[in-house]
Symmetry: C2
Amino acid sequence: MADSFSYDSLFSENSTDTPLNFVKHAKYDFAVAYPAPETLPMDGLIQALQTAVDSDGERIASEMAYYPHQFGAQELREYTVQKLQNDRGFTVDPDEVALTNGSGEALGLVIQALTNPGDVVLAEEFVYMGTLNQLRRFGADIRGVAIDEGGIVPEAMEKQIEELIANGEKPKYLYTIPEHQNPTGSTLSEERRKAILEIAHKYNMPILEDDCYVDLRYAGDVQPSFRALDDSGIVVYVASYSKLLAPGLRLGYFTGAPELMRRAMSFKLGSGPNQFASIAIEGFLKNNLDSHRGNFNPLLKEKCDAMTGALEEHFGGSGATWSTPEGGCYVWLTMPEGSDISAIRDAVFEQGVGYVAGTNFEADASGRIGHNSARLCFAYESPQKNREGIALLAQLFKQHGVM
Amino acid sequence: MADSFSYDSLFSENSTDTPLNFVKHAKYDFAVAYPAPETLPMDGLIQALQTAVDSDGERIASEMAYYPHQFGAQELREYTVQKLQNDRGFTVDPDEVALTNGSGEALGLVIQALTNPGDVVLAEEFVYMGTLNQLRRFGADIRGVAIDEGGIVPEAMEKQIEELIANGEKPKYLYTIPEHQNPTGSTLSEERRKAILEIAHKYNMPILEDDCYVDLRYAGDVQPSFRALDDSGIVVYVASYSKLLAPGLRLGYFTGAPELMRRAMSFKLGSGPNQFASIAIEGFLKNNLDSHRGNFNPLLKEKCDAMTGALEEHFGGSGATWSTPEGGCYVWLTMPEGSDISAIRDAVFEQGVGYVAGTNFEADASGRIGHNSARLCFAYESPQKNREGIALLAQLFKQHGVM
């Protein structure tokens, strides 16, 4: 029986033979999407677990043995409610918050609850490719909404909706990252959010709000979440502990109208999210949120300043522009119209600088935009490496004739 | 905007408004599917995390910050390979093992890779309802295979396959729990496994082997896994650390033919499994697997003996029969033909004894079998509570006129 069994004709029609992805790091890695590993509070998380076991071992043992609630650990849901109230200005019940395996799972569940193949879905014209991949997998026909340095332009979005409706393509919902957007770094103002909500109600179009960067602000003022501005149920709010603490904890969450949440949960594979990580997160953050953010965000700012300073030094006067984010992880670099930095991405990676080309974030995948832009993650490398890497990037761009 | 937003006509056709499940415990809870919470090695897991951080903090920080490999933490995959070699007698490469959010996720991914709506899938006529639910969700037309106290009867299965083929319903694959089966507690002999493999090859039918109870053996001899008996790729092997350590760690895994694994992974929502739990599990088990099993399994045996002893005392001579498992978590109780203990399940629960009625495990959901049977989990309650609960169950069965 050592012959190789053939799966010909046995795979499902929905399955695809997708090559596996392995993370490779360039010497200067601005392609990653992760915050500073040096701020990861592993000792604090471990201490929090130990404290929980020492103070309430029986509860911990029973929570680890089964899932009392399909939405995940009660204490972390209660903590999350408190955090949403303090940080995001809206109040929900712990039974209206579902913990998930990272926010990626939450997004995937909501997308499945709302998307029939062929449904038109709106998103920023450049937006997080992980969500784009999920939208595409479940058959969404994604259309990019025009953005400027302040995010979605409401008037342009309404005009586009009218045109889509005239064409028999009424959009089903809007996906947006309103705070420190991935990849552009922009934050939507309260005024624009209110205008977008009005449009959403007018066209009966839910808003899937991805607020996963909200904790990573080191400048300017946080804007109210869509969810805080509207409690009608039209907003589905998704967020995460991955960026604040560590992606390896795999803990995200979402809250929305009760029926929407039941529909979304009907797509869940397997049981609830990790109780072990939930206990550690709740125990750590309830005592250390402010001090952790107090360590974390100044470091982010230092890293961002190092990168934008180096951009000024090495790209100033070249016709390139870049965003100046107030938080998050990303600077959005735009080279002059006509330069193609997506085509040289692999070569530049081999020469030492990693970035993600703008084409990867193009919502409608039309190949129309993004060739002259790149997402640069400033959060992962040290300030020094940010400076060195940007200097090398300028040199390589010149060598490849795009600058 | 405080009016309630209506999702009418917005939900996807695939979504269902499924009521959420909350775990409720009867006084004597034989309905759960979890092993002994008193053996959960929380201190050991925490210690393992601390040791990893102290000895190799930089590696841990980078693993927590991103996912170097789509299949999950390298060290736990390497450990799993070693464990499979030692305990299950087959050798795979760490790059052929994917860690998942519990074995439930692994099963869901493989099911999606292999199932088109309407495909006929075989499974033991009574089998784990979690997998049945996933199979149904992805459109499988499940047919139950005849079992006896030794599990699947190969000759009966082959006859059934021939009949299905004659009827234009060739089965696509077989799902089975060969070791300490859920719910019946049976273990398939090596001879039967070999016969089933021969049938599987003859009919070009992969075997989805769910080996999640293999670590929980306290009597008799472990049987070779299907995967150890066949390395052609026809076997997809799924297992878990949930039963050995704790479900709340959410760590399962699977291994199979490379293309099958890529197809399965294409259905994954979000990033890899929990690195935090992976680090703890690997660190704990590499030093403590034998001592942990040495504590765990004698306690399981004591609990099982308490339950079967009480069954002998209170159900002996009533016409009831029950399995005598060599491991796992479950005793399968069968009342005389014609008794309906599924109808009184809720009433008995309210009166203090929880069990899962056999009808819930019926593979083809025809309502044909299972009314007179129940799964009793002996692993969760103490030996004393097992004895008391079975005594009460006999009393309640008499009261309800089924004994």
